[in-house]
Amino acid sequence: MAKEYRTIRNDVALPYQWALGRTWTRFFDGLKEERILGTKCDRCGKVYVPARSFCPVCFTDLMEWVDVKPRGRLVSWTVVNTSYHGQVKEPPYIVALIRLDGADCDFHHFIDGFNITDAGERKRKLRAGAKVKAVWSPSKNADIRDIAWFAPV
């Protein structure tokens, strides 16, 4: 058997205070009111959700705010069945990409609201283009989890 050498346990924990800035403060204030806000580029017409301060393609300031629908269609998904440090939810859970109605990019969030461990149920409910809608958290903190998850319609 190979010789074992010593290791030393050490944890590094550092505090941060991240600024949301003007654009994302407004986006999260919107979530608190059960609104999903995007910004629209007046040059290429693309609607970004979450709202952005500038268009990544045109590099112009985005001034026009739009409400997108709290519903959309499933683009992709997976069941997470692996654990890591700092994970926010106990596996198994489903993460997904959702194209919200009115947006031109995909939104990353949870899918829930049915028996997700049942493979047959998943097959029936989760396919490309399946309709989903936002389920709001009863208590809100102006953060991304003000949306609890998206549920198949």
């Binding site: 992709s76 997470v80 069945n81 692996t82 994970q87 995909d106």
Partner: protein
């Protein structure tokens, strides 16, 4: 492309769980091997380039300070470059730029990672923005799996067919790693082993996913003049490409994947390659996930979009196939992330210089190497040849 640049030496550690060496000593193992291979000493080196994953991986910040002695950089100029998983290709490109510019004759490029010391998926998750996507990231498996699902949906690939092809990729890479003395995971697996392994992120299973490895790689880049003087058989850099795309996952199309497609396209233009499947002799693709490897085949023009599973199932990319991919066992069997993209380049150089031992592809003259970094965001490609 600037002045001609050759790779004249490569060195790799034995990859795996290496508690026998502290992190700087692991780096030195690769550096010593590369110097020996090139037949040079530290005095011959004009500058050193280092790359690793973000500091969260091992909990030591800015490791070019920590490794100053181990990477032989005392009294020399040092560059530190990191682009997450594509780091190994980025530092290789950096070594190329340095020599091609004429500002150095010999540059040592070093990549390393000691993943047994930290939490790889927690570290990967810190690459995501803290407000929107980090909550849902689930490390590398979460996004790479969603990308693969999106790709299968887009091209109408039946789940069973994707599963079958991905399983064959796992079996092939594991078989290949048996030929590679440096590989971390060296065991044979069967199709059933892969299909019945524990689910990580459905439909991806344990044997579809790379390990977390300790390991380092070092590569010596030299000008034509220096290469001729030293006299080792060179692998010439024939072309390179690097592209990035939008940060937020879901904003760019990952089923077609512009950055991978155009990084390869740029490298092909420089190397004068028109039909990669026919012209390349071997490819070392950054393949931490079996399903994702198929998307790379398509982006690199090895087969039409949506048809990678068919090509995989007829054996095109296996040992003895039309274009053998990852004869080293690839990232799937060894992944010390900061070193991985450079290992791909080192393996490509070994192939075109006929030094790849048991994993040698007979008569290989032109090889592609590649790495991908971030949340599917960056891709880098380097092509090496036995002639300039």
């Amino acid at each position: 492309m600037g002045n001609a640049v050759a790779i004249i030496g490569t060195g790799q550690t034995r990859h795996g769980r290496r508690t026998d060496l502290c992190y700087p000593d692991l780096v030195r193992e690769a550096v010593t091997a590369a110097l020996d291979d090139a037949g040079i000493t530290l005095e011959d080196i004009d500058g050193v380039v280092l790359g690793t994953m973000p500091s969260m991986m091992e909990g030591v910040s800015s490791t070019h300070f920590y490794f100053a002695e181990a990477m032989g950089s005392l009294g020399k100029p040092v560059l530190k470059v990191e682009t997450c998983g594509s780091t190994g290709q980025s530092i290789g490109h950096c070594g190329f730029f340095w020599v091609a510019s004429g500002m150095a004759d010999i540059v040592l490029v070093v990549g390393s990672e000691k993943m047994s010391e930290g939490d790889g998926q927690a570290t990967m998750t810190t690459v995501f923005d803290p407000f929107f996507q980090r909550t849902f990231a689930a490390g590398a498996p979460g996004v790479f799996t969603m990308q693969s699902m999106e790709w299968m949906y887009r091209f109408g690939i039946p789940e069973e067919k994707g599963r079958e092809a991905a399983a064959l990729i796992s079996v092939s890479n594991h078989d290949n790693a048996m030929d590679n003395p440096h590989a971390h995971i060296r065991m044979r697996v069967t199709m059933d082993d892969v299909k019945n392994a524990r689910v990580i992120t459905y439909p991806v299973r344990l044997l579809d996913v790379c390990p977390a490895s300790d390991g380092a790689c070092a590569v010596v880049f030299a000008s034509r003049k220096a290469a001729r003087k030293i006299g080792r058989k060179p692998a010439w850099i024939r072309g390179l490409g690097f592209r990035g795309e939008e940060f937020f996952y879901g904003e760019s199309d990952k089923a077609v994947w512009m950055s991978a497609t155009e990084a390869a396209g740029e490298a092909y233009r420089q190397a004068g390659i028109r039909d990669p499947l026919k012209e390349l002799d071997v490819a070392e693709i950054y393949n931490p996930f079996t399903y994702q490897e198929m998307i790379f085949y398509e982006c690199f023009g090895f087969c039409p979009r949506g048809e990678a599973p068919d090509y995989v199932l007829k054996g095109t990319f296996r040992k003895g196939g039309e274009l053998p991919c990852d004869p080293s066992g690839g990232t799937l069997c060894t992944n010390p992330i900061g070193a991985t993209g450079l290992i791909r380049l080192a393996e490509a150089a070994l192939q075109v210089t006929g030094k790849a031992g048991e994993r040698q592809v007979e008569g290989a003259k032109l090889a592609l190497s590649h790495a991908m970094g971030g949340v599917d965001q960056f891709n880098g490609v380097t092509i090496v040849g036995s002639t300039l």
